[in-house]
Protein backbone atom coordinates (compact mmCIF):
# COMPACT_ATOMS: atom_id res chain seq x y z
CA UNK A 1 0.00 0.00 0.00
CA UNK A 2 1.34 3.36 -1.01
CA UNK A 3 -0.24 5.62 1.53
CA UNK A 4 1.49 6.83 4.66
CA UNK A 5 -0.03 5.53 7.90
CA UNK A 6 -0.58 8.02 10.66
CA UNK A 7 -0.08 5.29 13.25
CA UNK A 8 2.93 3.16 12.30
CA UNK A 9 2.59 -0.50 13.15
CA UNK A 10 4.50 -0.94 16.36
CA UNK A 11 5.49 -3.52 18.93
CA UNK A 12 3.32 -6.51 19.93
CA UNK A 13 0.44 -5.25 22.05
CA UNK A 14 -1.34 -8.56 22.56
CA UNK A 15 0.38 -11.92 22.77
CA UNK A 16 -1.33 -15.27 22.96
CA UNK A 17 1.04 -17.94 24.23
CA UNK A 18 0.43 -21.69 23.96
CA UNK A 19 -3.29 -21.56 24.55
CA UNK A 20 -5.10 -24.88 24.84
CA UNK A 21 -8.82 -25.09 25.40
CA UNK A 22 -11.03 -28.13 25.49
CA UNK A 23 -14.66 -28.74 26.32
CA UNK A 24 -14.82 -32.11 27.98
CA UNK A 25 -13.07 -34.37 25.50
CA UNK A 26 -13.37 -31.99 22.56
CA UNK A 27 -10.24 -30.00 21.87
CA UNK A 28 -11.19 -26.59 20.56
CA UNK A 29 -7.74 -25.01 20.58
CA UNK A 30 -4.39 -26.79 20.84
CA UNK A 31 -1.18 -25.04 21.83
CA UNK A 32 -1.83 -21.91 19.82
CA UNK A 33 0.40 -18.83 19.85
CA UNK A 34 0.34 -15.66 17.85
CA UNK A 35 0.65 -11.96 18.47
CA UNK A 36 -1.03 -8.73 17.48
CA UNK A 37 1.02 -5.62 16.78
CA UNK A 38 -0.06 -2.19 17.86
CA UNK A 39 -2.15 -0.29 15.27
CA UNK A 40 -2.43 -3.20 12.85
CA UNK A 41 -5.47 -4.92 11.38
CA UNK A 42 -5.11 -8.57 12.20
CA UNK A 43 -7.40 -11.19 10.77
CA UNK A 44 -8.07 -14.64 12.15
CA UNK A 45 -9.40 -16.98 9.51
CA UNK A 46 -10.10 -20.66 9.25
CA UNK A 47 -12.80 -23.13 8.27
CA UNK A 48 -15.89 -23.60 10.44
CA UNK A 49 -15.13 -25.07 13.83
CA UNK A 50 -11.46 -24.09 13.63
CA UNK A 51 -11.64 -22.45 17.06
CA UNK A 52 -11.66 -18.79 15.96
CA UNK A 53 -14.47 -17.60 18.19
CA UNK A 54 -13.17 -19.71 21.04
CA UNK A 55 -9.86 -17.93 20.60
CA UNK A 56 -11.50 -14.52 20.97
CA UNK A 57 -13.43 -15.79 23.98
CA UNK A 58 -10.16 -16.85 25.58
CA UNK A 59 -8.54 -13.48 24.91
CA UNK A 60 -11.54 -11.65 26.32
CA UNK A 61 -11.90 -13.91 29.37
CA UNK A 62 -15.25 -15.49 28.63
CA UNK A 63 -13.58 -18.90 28.35
CA UNK A 64 -10.80 -19.98 30.67
CA UNK A 65 -8.17 -21.91 28.70
CA UNK A 66 -6.71 -24.97 30.45
CA UNK A 67 -3.23 -23.94 29.40
CA UNK A 68 -1.45 -20.90 28.10
CA UNK A 69 -1.36 -17.20 28.82
CA UNK A 70 -2.46 -13.92 27.36
CA UNK A 71 -0.17 -10.90 27.63
CA UNK A 72 -1.19 -7.33 27.10
CA UNK A 73 1.58 -4.80 26.42
CA UNK A 74 4.15 -7.38 27.51
CA UNK A 75 2.42 -7.98 30.81
CA UNK A 76 0.93 -11.39 31.52
CA UNK A 77 -2.65 -11.18 32.74
CA UNK A 78 -3.81 -13.45 35.55
CA UNK A 79 -7.47 -14.38 36.05
CA UNK A 80 -8.77 -12.83 32.88
CA UNK A 81 -12.39 -11.74 33.03
CA UNK A 82 -14.28 -9.70 30.41
CA UNK A 83 -14.41 -6.89 32.91
CA UNK A 84 -10.65 -6.79 33.52
CA UNK A 85 -9.94 -6.88 29.80
CA UNK A 86 -12.39 -4.03 29.22
CA UNK A 87 -10.57 -1.99 31.83
CA UNK A 88 -7.24 -2.72 30.14
CA UNK A 89 -8.62 -1.28 26.92
CA UNK A 90 -9.90 -4.27 25.02
CA UNK A 91 -13.38 -4.24 23.62
CA UNK A 92 -15.24 -6.64 21.36
CA UNK A 93 -18.27 -7.57 19.32
CA UNK A 94 -19.93 -10.96 19.24
CA UNK A 95 -20.64 -13.43 16.50
CA UNK A 96 -24.30 -13.86 17.30
CA UNK A 97 -24.98 -10.24 18.22
CA UNK A 98 -25.03 -9.49 21.90
CA UNK A 99 -26.85 -6.20 21.94
CA UNK A 100 -29.18 -4.88 24.62
CA UNK A 101 -32.33 -5.60 22.64
CA UNK A 102 -34.86 -3.51 24.50
CA UNK A 103 -32.64 -0.45 24.69
CA UNK A 104 -32.34 2.19 21.99
CA UNK A 105 -29.34 2.44 19.68
CA UNK A 106 -28.13 5.50 21.56
CA UNK A 107 -28.49 3.75 24.93
CA UNK A 108 -26.60 0.71 23.66
CA UNK A 109 -23.73 2.89 22.58
CA UNK A 110 -23.90 4.82 25.84
CA UNK A 111 -23.36 1.57 27.76
CA UNK A 112 -20.06 1.40 25.89
CA UNK A 113 -19.14 4.60 27.72
CA UNK A 114 -19.42 2.80 31.06
CA UNK A 115 -15.70 2.94 31.79
CA UNK A 116 -15.74 6.69 31.18
CA UNK A 117 -18.54 7.09 33.72
CA UNK A 118 -17.21 7.69 37.19
CA UNK A 119 -20.28 8.93 39.05
CA UNK A 120 -22.09 6.54 41.39
CA UNK A 121 -25.79 5.77 41.64
CA UNK A 122 -26.41 8.24 44.45
CA UNK A 123 -24.94 11.08 42.44
CA UNK A 124 -27.00 9.98 39.46
CA UNK A 125 -30.16 9.84 41.58
CA UNK A 126 -29.58 13.38 42.78
CA UNK A 127 -28.52 14.58 39.31
CA UNK A 128 -25.55 16.50 40.67
CA UNK A 129 -23.90 18.95 38.26
CA UNK A 130 -20.96 16.62 37.71
CA UNK A 131 -23.34 13.87 36.61
CA UNK A 132 -24.88 16.18 34.05
CA UNK A 133 -21.47 17.21 32.83
CA UNK A 134 -20.29 13.64 32.48
CA UNK A 135 -23.52 12.55 30.80
CA UNK A 136 -23.18 15.42 28.35
CA UNK A 137 -19.64 14.37 27.41
CA UNK A 138 -20.66 10.73 27.04
CA UNK A 139 -23.63 11.65 24.90
CA UNK A 140 -21.53 13.87 22.71
CA UNK A 141 -19.05 11.07 22.10
CA UNK A 142 -21.89 8.63 21.39
CA UNK A 143 -23.49 11.04 18.93
CA UNK A 144 -20.15 11.38 17.20
CA UNK A 145 -19.95 7.62 16.78
CA UNK A 146 -23.54 7.48 15.59
CA UNK A 147 -22.89 10.05 12.89
CA UNK A 148 -19.61 8.36 11.98
CA UNK A 149 -21.49 5.10 11.41
CA UNK A 150 -24.24 6.98 9.57
CA UNK A 151 -27.04 5.67 11.76
CA UNK A 152 -28.46 8.97 13.00
CA UNK A 153 -31.96 8.18 11.77
CA UNK A 154 -32.32 5.08 13.96
CA UNK A 155 -30.68 6.27 17.14
CA UNK A 156 -33.89 6.17 19.20
CA UNK A 157 -35.10 2.81 17.86
CA UNK A 158 -34.86 -0.23 20.16
CA UNK A 159 -32.11 -2.36 18.59
CA UNK A 160 -34.23 -5.50 18.72
CA UNK A 161 -36.35 -4.03 15.94
CA UNK A 162 -33.46 -3.34 13.57
CA UNK A 163 -32.37 -5.54 10.67
CA UNK A 164 -29.26 -7.66 11.11
CA UNK A 165 -26.84 -5.48 9.18
CA UNK A 166 -27.73 -2.42 11.21
CA UNK A 167 -27.43 -4.35 14.45
CA UNK A 168 -23.89 -5.31 13.46
CA UNK A 169 -23.15 -1.62 12.95
CA UNK A 170 -24.58 -0.74 16.36
CA UNK A 171 -22.44 -3.41 17.95
CA UNK A 172 -19.37 -1.92 16.30
CA UNK A 173 -20.49 1.46 17.57
CA UNK A 174 -20.78 0.16 21.11
CA UNK A 175 -17.26 -1.26 20.92
CA UNK A 176 -15.99 2.04 19.52
CA UNK A 177 -17.63 4.00 22.32
CA UNK A 178 -15.32 2.37 24.82
CA UNK A 179 -12.36 4.18 23.18
CA UNK A 180 -10.42 0.94 23.55
CA UNK A 181 -6.93 0.41 22.17
CA UNK A 182 -7.87 -3.00 20.78
CA UNK A 183 -11.19 -4.09 19.35
CA UNK A 184 -11.97 -7.75 18.65
CA UNK A 185 -14.56 -8.16 15.91
CA UNK A 186 -16.19 -11.56 15.66
CA UNK A 187 -17.49 -11.85 12.09
CA UNK A 188 -18.44 -8.20 11.70
CA UNK A 189 -19.68 -8.76 8.15
CA UNK A 190 -21.50 -12.07 8.44
CA UNK A 191 -24.79 -12.06 6.58
CA UNK A 192 -24.22 -8.70 4.94
CA UNK A 193 -24.60 -7.85 1.28
CA UNK A 194 -21.73 -6.49 -0.78
CA UNK A 195 -22.63 -2.89 -0.17
CA UNK A 196 -22.96 -3.32 3.59
CA UNK A 197 -19.68 -5.17 3.65
CA UNK A 198 -17.97 -2.36 1.81
CA UNK A 199 -19.34 0.13 4.33
CA UNK A 200 -18.18 -2.01 7.23
CA UNK A 201 -14.67 -2.30 5.76
CA UNK A 202 -14.57 1.43 5.33
CA UNK A 203 -15.51 1.95 8.99
CA UNK A 204 -12.96 -0.55 10.24
CA UNK A 205 -10.14 0.94 8.17
CA UNK A 206 -11.15 4.48 9.04
CA UNK A 207 -11.13 3.78 12.76
CA UNK A 208 -7.79 2.03 12.45
CA UNK A 209 -6.39 4.87 10.40
CA UNK A 210 -7.72 7.85 12.32
CA UNK A 211 -7.63 6.58 15.89
CA UNK A 212 -4.92 3.97 15.55
CA UNK A 213 -7.17 1.36 17.12
CA UNK A 214 -5.76 -2.13 16.78
CA UNK A 215 -8.32 -4.38 15.10
CA UNK A 216 -8.52 -8.14 15.43
CA UNK A 217 -11.22 -9.61 13.24
CA UNK A 218 -12.62 -12.96 12.34
CA UNK A 219 -13.99 -13.06 8.82
CA UNK A 220 -14.96 -15.63 6.23
CA UNK A 221 -14.93 -13.46 3.13
CA UNK A 222 -11.40 -14.02 1.77
CA UNK A 223 -11.56 -11.03 -0.53
CA UNK A 224 -12.35 -8.75 2.39
CA UNK A 225 -9.71 -10.31 4.63
CA UNK A 226 -6.96 -10.03 2.05
CA UNK A 227 -7.94 -6.45 1.27
CA UNK A 228 -8.08 -4.94 4.70
CA UNK A 229 -5.76 -6.86 6.96
CA UNK A 230 -2.08 -6.28 7.55
CA UNK A 231 -1.43 -9.79 8.80
CA UNK A 232 -3.49 -12.95 8.88
CA UNK A 233 -3.39 -15.94 11.15
CA UNK A 234 -5.03 -19.16 9.92
CA UNK A 235 -6.47 -21.71 12.33
CA UNK A 236 -7.53 -25.21 11.42
CA UNK A 237 -8.70 -27.78 13.96
CA UNK A 238 -7.53 -25.49 16.74
CA UNK A 239 -3.98 -25.16 15.44
CA UNK A 240 -2.15 -22.38 13.68
CA UNK A 241 -1.40 -23.49 10.12
CA UNK A 242 -0.31 -20.16 8.73
CA UNK A 243 0.68 -16.73 9.95
CA UNK A 244 1.83 -13.81 7.84
CA UNK A 245 0.89 -11.10 5.35
CA UNK A 246 -2.06 -11.74 3.04
CA UNK A 247 0.30 -12.49 0.17
CA UNK A 248 2.20 -15.06 2.21
CA UNK A 249 -1.02 -16.69 3.30
CA UNK A 250 -2.32 -16.92 -0.25
CA UNK A 251 0.84 -18.74 -1.23
CA UNK A 252 0.80 -21.07 1.78
CA UNK A 253 0.17 -24.64 0.64
CA UNK A 254 -1.23 -25.77 4.03
CA UNK A 255 -3.80 -22.99 3.95
CA UNK A 256 -4.81 -23.81 0.42
CA UNK A 257 -5.21 -27.44 1.40
CA UNK A 258 -7.30 -26.60 4.43
CA UNK A 259 -9.64 -24.43 2.40
CA UNK A 260 -9.84 -26.40 -0.81
CA UNK A 261 -9.43 -29.83 0.68
CA UNK A 262 -6.65 -32.15 -0.32
CA UNK A 263 -6.61 -35.53 -1.96
CA UNK A 264 -5.62 -38.34 0.32
Amino acid sequence: MAYERKFKIGKPILEVNNISLSFGGVKAITDTSFNVLEHEVRAIIGPNGAGKSSMLNCINGIYKPQQGTVSFRGQQIENITPNIMAQMGLSRTFQNLALFKRMSVLDNILVGRKLHTKTNFLEVALQLPKVKKEEKLNRERSEEIISFLEIEDIKDTPVGKLPYGLQKKVELGRALATDSTIILLDEPMAGMNVEEKRDMCRFILKVNDELGTTMVLIEHDMGVVMDISDRVVVLDYGKVIGDGTPDEIMANQKVIDAYLGVEH
Partner: protein, 354 residues
Protein backbone atom coordinates in the same frame (compact mmCIF):
# COMPACT_ATOMS: atom_id res chain seq x y z
CA UNK B 1 -38.24 14.85 20.77
CA UNK B 2 -35.92 14.60 23.70
CA UNK B 3 -33.16 17.19 23.66
CA UNK B 4 -29.89 15.34 23.63
CA UNK B 5 -28.36 16.52 26.86
CA UNK B 6 -31.35 16.76 29.16
CA UNK B 7 -32.72 14.27 31.62
CA UNK B 8 -36.16 15.82 31.60
CA UNK B 9 -38.11 17.08 28.66
CA UNK B 10 -40.81 19.70 28.72
CA UNK B 11 -43.37 16.90 28.51
CA UNK B 12 -41.99 15.30 31.68
CA UNK B 13 -42.20 18.58 33.54
CA UNK B 14 -45.80 19.07 32.41
CA UNK B 15 -46.62 15.52 33.55
CA UNK B 16 -45.04 16.20 36.92
CA UNK B 17 -46.93 19.48 37.28
CA UNK B 18 -50.23 17.78 36.44
CA UNK B 19 -49.61 14.96 38.93
CA UNK B 20 -48.64 17.38 41.66
CA UNK B 21 -51.63 19.61 40.93
CA UNK B 22 -53.98 16.64 41.09
CA UNK B 23 -52.50 15.14 44.21
CA UNK B 24 -51.93 18.31 46.23
CA UNK B 25 -54.91 20.44 45.24
CA UNK B 26 -57.62 18.49 43.50
CA UNK B 27 -57.68 15.32 45.61
CA UNK B 28 -57.73 17.06 49.01
CA UNK B 29 -60.38 19.51 47.79
CA UNK B 30 -62.78 17.04 46.28
CA UNK B 31 -62.24 13.90 48.30
CA UNK B 32 -63.43 14.39 51.82
CA UNK B 33 -64.41 10.90 52.93
CA UNK B 34 -61.80 9.35 55.21
CA UNK B 35 -62.34 5.96 53.62
CA UNK B 36 -60.63 7.06 50.42
CA UNK B 37 -57.54 8.20 52.25
CA UNK B 38 -57.19 5.40 54.76
CA UNK B 39 -58.16 2.51 52.51
CA UNK B 40 -57.18 3.51 49.02
CA UNK B 41 -54.88 6.49 48.55
CA UNK B 42 -52.42 5.76 51.37
CA UNK B 43 -51.97 2.04 50.61
CA UNK B 44 -51.81 2.91 46.92
CA UNK B 45 -48.86 5.24 47.45
CA UNK B 46 -47.09 2.79 49.80
CA UNK B 47 -47.55 -0.20 47.52
CA UNK B 48 -46.62 1.81 44.43
CA UNK B 49 -43.36 2.66 46.19
CA UNK B 50 -42.71 -1.00 46.97
CA UNK B 51 -43.56 -1.83 43.35
CA UNK B 52 -40.92 0.65 42.18
CA UNK B 53 -38.50 -1.35 44.31
CA UNK B 54 -39.65 -4.56 42.63
CA UNK B 55 -39.36 -2.86 39.22
CA UNK B 56 -35.74 -1.92 39.85
CA UNK B 57 -34.67 -5.45 40.55
CA UNK B 58 -37.04 -7.27 38.21
CA UNK B 59 -38.09 -4.86 35.48
CA UNK B 60 -34.80 -3.04 35.05
CA UNK B 61 -32.14 -5.51 36.15
CA UNK B 62 -34.05 -8.59 35.03
CA UNK B 63 -33.53 -10.55 38.23
CA UNK B 64 -36.60 -12.56 39.14
CA UNK B 65 -36.93 -11.82 42.82
CA UNK B 66 -39.87 -12.57 45.03
CA UNK B 67 -39.62 -11.23 48.54
CA UNK B 68 -40.63 -7.60 48.47
CA UNK B 69 -42.88 -8.06 51.49
CA UNK B 70 -39.97 -9.45 53.51
CA UNK B 71 -38.02 -6.25 52.95
CA UNK B 72 -41.15 -4.26 53.74
CA UNK B 73 -41.38 -6.09 57.06
CA UNK B 74 -37.73 -5.34 57.76
CA UNK B 75 -38.41 -1.66 57.08
CA UNK B 76 -41.58 -1.55 59.14
CA UNK B 77 -40.16 -3.24 62.24
CA UNK B 78 -36.90 -1.31 61.96
CA UNK B 79 -38.94 1.87 61.95
CA UNK B 80 -40.91 0.80 65.03
CA UNK B 81 -37.75 -0.01 66.95
CA UNK B 82 -35.89 3.10 65.84
CA UNK B 83 -38.67 5.42 66.97
CA UNK B 84 -39.01 3.43 70.20
CA UNK B 85 -35.32 3.22 71.04
CA UNK B 86 -33.64 6.10 69.21
CA UNK B 87 -36.26 8.85 69.40
CA UNK B 88 -33.67 11.52 68.58
CA UNK B 89 -33.53 10.27 65.01
CA UNK B 90 -36.92 11.76 64.23
CA UNK B 91 -39.44 10.44 61.72
CA UNK B 92 -37.57 11.22 58.52
CA UNK B 93 -34.24 10.03 59.92
CA UNK B 94 -35.80 6.78 61.12
CA UNK B 95 -37.44 6.30 57.73
CA UNK B 96 -34.10 6.59 55.97
CA UNK B 97 -32.31 4.30 58.44
CA UNK B 98 -35.14 1.73 58.14
CA UNK B 99 -34.64 1.79 54.40
CA UNK B 100 -30.92 1.27 54.87
CA UNK B 101 -31.51 -1.69 57.19
CA UNK B 102 -33.79 -3.24 54.57
CA UNK B 103 -31.10 -2.51 51.97
CA UNK B 104 -28.59 -4.47 54.04
CA UNK B 105 -30.95 -7.45 53.90
CA UNK B 106 -31.31 -6.81 50.18
CA UNK B 107 -27.57 -7.11 49.67
CA UNK B 108 -27.45 -10.32 51.68
CA UNK B 109 -30.31 -11.98 49.82
CA UNK B 110 -29.23 -10.56 46.47
CA UNK B 111 -25.96 -12.46 46.53
CA UNK B 112 -27.47 -15.69 45.12
CA UNK B 113 -28.25 -13.74 41.93
CA UNK B 114 -24.58 -13.99 41.04
CA UNK B 115 -24.81 -17.74 40.69
CA UNK B 116 -28.39 -18.62 39.88
CA UNK B 117 -30.91 -17.04 37.58
CA UNK B 118 -34.52 -17.22 36.48
CA UNK B 119 -36.96 -19.29 38.43
CA UNK B 120 -34.17 -20.70 40.63
CA UNK B 121 -33.28 -17.20 41.77
CA UNK B 122 -36.94 -16.64 42.58
CA UNK B 123 -36.86 -19.64 44.89
CA UNK B 124 -33.61 -18.43 46.45
CA UNK B 125 -35.01 -14.97 47.12
CA UNK B 126 -38.03 -16.52 48.79
CA UNK B 127 -35.59 -17.18 51.62
CA UNK B 128 -35.60 -13.48 52.43
CA UNK B 129 -39.36 -13.52 52.70
CA UNK B 130 -39.42 -16.39 55.16
CA UNK B 131 -36.25 -15.58 57.06
CA UNK B 132 -37.14 -11.98 57.87
CA UNK B 133 -40.67 -12.82 59.01
CA UNK B 134 -39.37 -15.76 61.06
CA UNK B 135 -36.68 -13.60 62.66
CA UNK B 136 -39.14 -10.92 63.73
CA UNK B 137 -41.52 -13.55 65.05
CA UNK B 138 -38.84 -15.52 66.85
CA UNK B 139 -37.13 -12.72 68.75
CA UNK B 140 -39.45 -10.77 70.99
CA UNK B 141 -37.09 -7.82 71.07
CA UNK B 142 -38.21 -6.73 67.62
CA UNK B 143 -41.76 -6.42 68.91
CA UNK B 144 -40.69 -4.90 72.20
CA UNK B 145 -41.81 -8.14 73.97
CA UNK B 146 -45.46 -7.46 73.34
CA UNK B 147 -47.36 -10.44 74.69
CA UNK B 148 -49.93 -10.45 71.90
CA UNK B 149 -47.24 -10.29 69.24
CA UNK B 150 -48.86 -7.23 67.75
CA UNK B 151 -47.14 -3.88 67.71
CA UNK B 152 -48.80 -0.53 67.50
CA UNK B 153 -47.05 1.98 65.31
CA UNK B 154 -46.26 5.23 67.06
CA UNK B 155 -47.88 8.48 65.94
CA UNK B 156 -46.04 10.31 63.22
CA UNK B 157 -44.38 13.46 64.53
CA UNK B 158 -42.29 15.57 62.20
CA UNK B 159 -40.50 18.64 63.60
CA UNK B 160 -42.73 18.56 66.66
CA UNK B 161 -45.94 18.57 64.63
CA UNK B 162 -48.22 15.51 64.77
CA UNK B 163 -49.47 14.01 61.51
CA UNK B 164 -52.34 11.84 62.62
CA UNK B 165 -55.34 12.73 60.48
CA UNK B 166 -55.82 10.68 57.31
CA UNK B 167 -55.22 13.76 55.17
CA UNK B 168 -51.97 14.59 56.98
CA UNK B 169 -50.73 11.02 56.63
CA UNK B 170 -51.67 11.09 52.97
CA UNK B 171 -49.41 14.12 52.55
CA UNK B 172 -46.56 12.36 54.36
CA UNK B 173 -46.87 9.38 52.02
CA UNK B 174 -47.21 11.65 49.02
CA UNK B 175 -44.08 13.61 49.88
CA UNK B 176 -41.94 10.51 50.46
CA UNK B 177 -43.27 8.77 47.36
CA UNK B 178 -42.75 11.81 45.15
CA UNK B 179 -39.15 12.30 46.24
CA UNK B 180 -38.25 8.63 45.89
CA UNK B 181 -40.03 8.33 42.55
CA UNK B 182 -38.05 11.25 41.14
CA UNK B 183 -34.80 9.74 42.41
CA UNK B 184 -35.75 6.39 40.86
CA UNK B 185 -36.48 8.09 37.54
CA UNK B 186 -33.12 9.85 37.60
CA UNK B 187 -31.37 6.56 38.18
CA UNK B 188 -33.42 4.67 35.60
CA UNK B 189 -32.75 7.24 32.90
CA UNK B 190 -29.12 7.80 33.77
CA UNK B 191 -26.01 5.67 33.59
CA UNK B 192 -27.18 3.60 36.59
CA UNK B 193 -30.32 2.48 34.77
CA UNK B 194 -28.40 1.74 31.60
CA UNK B 195 -26.13 -0.60 33.54
CA UNK B 196 -29.16 -2.36 35.02
CA UNK B 197 -30.80 -2.82 31.64
CA UNK B 198 -27.55 -3.95 30.04
CA UNK B 199 -27.29 -6.70 32.65
CA UNK B 200 -30.93 -7.59 32.02
CA UNK B 201 -30.66 -7.78 28.23
CA UNK B 202 -27.25 -9.42 27.74
CA UNK B 203 -25.05 -9.91 30.77
CA UNK B 204 -21.97 -11.20 28.91
CA UNK B 205 -21.89 -8.17 26.64
CA UNK B 206 -22.43 -5.87 29.60
CA UNK B 207 -19.44 -7.42 31.32
CA UNK B 208 -17.36 -7.00 28.18
CA UNK B 209 -18.16 -3.29 28.27
CA UNK B 210 -16.84 -3.04 31.79
CA UNK B 211 -20.13 -3.32 33.69
CA UNK B 212 -19.46 -5.37 36.81
CA UNK B 213 -22.20 -7.96 37.21
CA UNK B 214 -21.54 -8.34 40.94
CA UNK B 215 -21.75 -4.64 41.60
CA UNK B 216 -24.74 -3.97 39.38
CA UNK B 217 -26.85 -6.84 40.67
CA UNK B 218 -26.07 -6.23 44.32
CA UNK B 219 -26.68 -2.52 43.84
CA UNK B 220 -30.06 -3.20 42.26
CA UNK B 221 -31.03 -5.53 45.11
CA UNK B 222 -29.93 -2.98 47.71
CA UNK B 223 -31.80 -0.08 46.12
CA UNK B 224 -34.84 -2.26 45.57
CA UNK B 225 -34.83 -3.34 49.22
CA UNK B 226 -34.39 0.28 50.31
CA UNK B 227 -37.54 1.26 48.42
CA UNK B 228 -39.42 -1.71 49.82
CA UNK B 229 -38.18 -0.95 53.33
CA UNK B 230 -39.33 2.66 53.21
CA UNK B 231 -42.62 1.53 51.65
CA UNK B 232 -43.05 -1.03 54.42
CA UNK B 233 -42.42 1.57 57.12
CA UNK B 234 -44.99 3.92 55.58
CA UNK B 235 -47.41 1.02 55.09
CA UNK B 236 -47.13 0.18 58.79
CA UNK B 237 -47.22 3.71 60.14
CA UNK B 238 -49.81 5.30 57.85
CA UNK B 239 -52.02 2.38 56.89
CA UNK B 240 -51.90 -0.67 59.16
CA UNK B 241 -51.02 1.16 62.41
CA UNK B 242 -51.20 -1.99 64.54
CA UNK B 243 -49.48 -4.91 62.94
CA UNK B 244 -47.87 -8.26 63.28
CA UNK B 245 -45.21 -9.79 61.03
CA UNK B 246 -47.84 -11.89 59.24
CA UNK B 247 -49.12 -8.71 57.61
CA UNK B 248 -46.08 -8.99 55.34
CA UNK B 249 -46.58 -12.55 54.23
CA UNK B 250 -45.93 -14.11 50.85
CA UNK B 251 -49.35 -12.99 49.59
CA UNK B 252 -48.24 -9.39 49.76
CA UNK B 253 -45.07 -10.25 47.86
CA UNK B 254 -47.17 -11.80 45.13
CA UNK B 255 -49.46 -8.79 45.08
CA UNK B 256 -46.46 -6.54 44.49
CA UNK B 257 -45.21 -8.90 41.80
CA UNK B 258 -48.60 -8.69 40.07
CA UNK B 259 -48.57 -4.91 40.31
CA UNK B 260 -45.15 -4.91 38.73
CA UNK B 261 -46.09 -7.20 35.84
CA UNK B 262 -49.54 -5.77 35.12
CA UNK B 263 -48.23 -2.23 35.37
CA UNK B 264 -45.45 -3.00 32.93
CA UNK B 265 -41.98 -4.35 33.55
CA UNK B 266 -39.26 -1.77 33.32
CA UNK B 267 -41.45 1.29 33.76
CA UNK B 268 -41.75 3.61 36.74
CA UNK B 269 -45.22 4.92 35.96
CA UNK B 270 -46.32 1.30 35.53
CA UNK B 271 -45.75 0.84 39.25
CA UNK B 272 -48.45 3.39 40.01
CA UNK B 273 -50.84 2.09 37.36
CA UNK B 274 -50.36 -1.53 38.47
CA UNK B 275 -50.80 -0.69 42.14
CA UNK B 276 -53.95 1.31 41.41
CA UNK B 277 -55.43 -1.50 39.36
CA UNK B 278 -54.76 -4.24 41.90
CA UNK B 279 -56.10 -2.11 44.75
CA UNK B 280 -59.13 -0.69 43.00
CA UNK B 281 -60.28 -3.73 41.08
CA UNK B 282 -61.58 -5.59 44.19
CA UNK B 283 -63.33 -2.41 45.28
CA UNK B 284 -64.99 -2.21 41.88
CA UNK B 285 -65.99 -5.88 41.96
CA UNK B 286 -67.51 -5.46 45.40
CA UNK B 287 -69.42 -2.41 44.26
CA UNK B 288 -70.76 -4.35 41.28
CA UNK B 289 -71.68 -7.25 43.56
CA UNK B 290 -73.55 -4.97 45.94
CA UNK B 291 -75.20 -2.60 43.52
CA UNK B 292 -75.92 -4.74 40.47
CA UNK B 293 -76.58 -8.08 42.11
CA UNK B 294 -77.64 -6.61 45.47
CA UNK B 295 -75.55 -8.99 47.48
CA UNK B 296 -76.90 -12.06 45.71
CA UNK B 297 -73.33 -13.15 45.06
CA UNK B 298 -71.44 -14.30 48.11
CA UNK B 299 -68.43 -12.20 49.17
CA UNK B 300 -66.16 -15.24 49.10
CA UNK B 301 -67.17 -15.91 45.51
CA UNK B 302 -66.40 -12.33 44.60
CA UNK B 303 -62.94 -12.59 46.08
CA UNK B 304 -62.42 -15.85 44.17
CA UNK B 305 -63.56 -14.20 40.94
CA UNK B 306 -61.01 -11.48 41.65
CA UNK B 307 -58.19 -14.07 41.85
CA UNK B 308 -59.33 -15.72 38.64
CA UNK B 309 -59.40 -12.43 36.77
CA UNK B 310 -55.95 -11.41 38.08
CA UNK B 311 -54.53 -14.75 37.02
CA UNK B 312 -56.12 -14.51 33.59
CA UNK B 313 -54.90 -10.94 33.10
CA UNK B 314 -51.37 -11.92 34.08
CA UNK B 315 -51.33 -14.59 31.39
CA UNK B 316 -52.85 -12.30 28.79
CA UNK B 317 -50.36 -9.52 29.52
CA UNK B 318 -47.38 -11.86 29.54
CA UNK B 319 -48.36 -13.14 26.09
CA UNK B 320 -49.67 -10.06 24.34
CA UNK B 321 -48.20 -7.03 26.09
CA UNK B 322 -45.23 -7.79 28.31
CA UNK B 323 -44.79 -4.08 28.85
CA UNK B 324 -48.11 -4.00 30.66
CA UNK B 325 -50.63 -1.26 31.27
CA UNK B 326 -48.06 1.49 31.07
CA UNK B 327 -47.55 0.52 27.43
CA UNK B 328 -51.32 0.36 26.79
CA UNK B 329 -51.61 3.85 28.22
CA UNK B 330 -48.76 5.01 25.99
CA UNK B 331 -50.42 3.44 22.92
CA UNK B 332 -53.74 5.03 23.83
CA UNK B 333 -52.12 8.44 24.05
CA UNK B 334 -50.38 8.00 20.69
CA UNK B 335 -53.54 6.86 18.90
CA UNK B 336 -55.60 9.64 20.49
CA UNK B 337 -53.03 12.17 19.43
CA UNK B 338 -52.92 10.92 15.84
CA UNK B 339 -56.73 10.86 15.71
CA UNK B 340 -56.93 14.38 17.09
CA UNK B 341 -54.32 15.68 14.69
CA UNK B 342 -55.92 13.95 11.69
CA UNK B 343 -59.39 15.26 12.57
CA UNK B 344 -57.74 18.63 13.13
CA UNK B 345 -56.32 18.68 9.63
CA UNK B 346 -59.65 17.50 8.24
CA UNK B 347 -61.56 20.31 9.87
CA UNK B 348 -58.92 22.72 8.65
CA UNK B 349 -59.32 21.42 5.14
CA UNK B 350 -63.09 21.59 5.26
CA UNK B 351 -62.99 25.12 6.60
CA UNK B 352 -60.53 26.02 3.86
CA UNK B 353 -62.93 24.61 1.28
CA UNK B 354 -65.70 26.77 2.63
Amino acid sequence: MKPVFMTYTKKDLINLAVCMFLSILIIPTFITTEYWYTSILIPWLCLALATIGQQIVMGYTGQLALGAAGFMAAGAFAMFNLILRVPDLGFVGSLIVSGLIAAAFGILFGLPSLKVRGIYLMVATLASQFFIIWMIDKFGWFKNYDSSGIITAQDIVIMGKPFTTPLAMYFVCLAVTTVLTLLAMNMARGSTGRNWMAVRDMDIAAESMGVSLLRTKVQAFAISAFYCGVAGALFAFCYLKSLEPVAFDIKLSFKILFMCILGGLGTINGAFIGAAFILLFPVLLNAIGNNVFHGAIDATIISSIEQVIFGGLMIIFMIYEPLGMAKLWENLKVSLKSKLSSSGTKSLKSSAQK
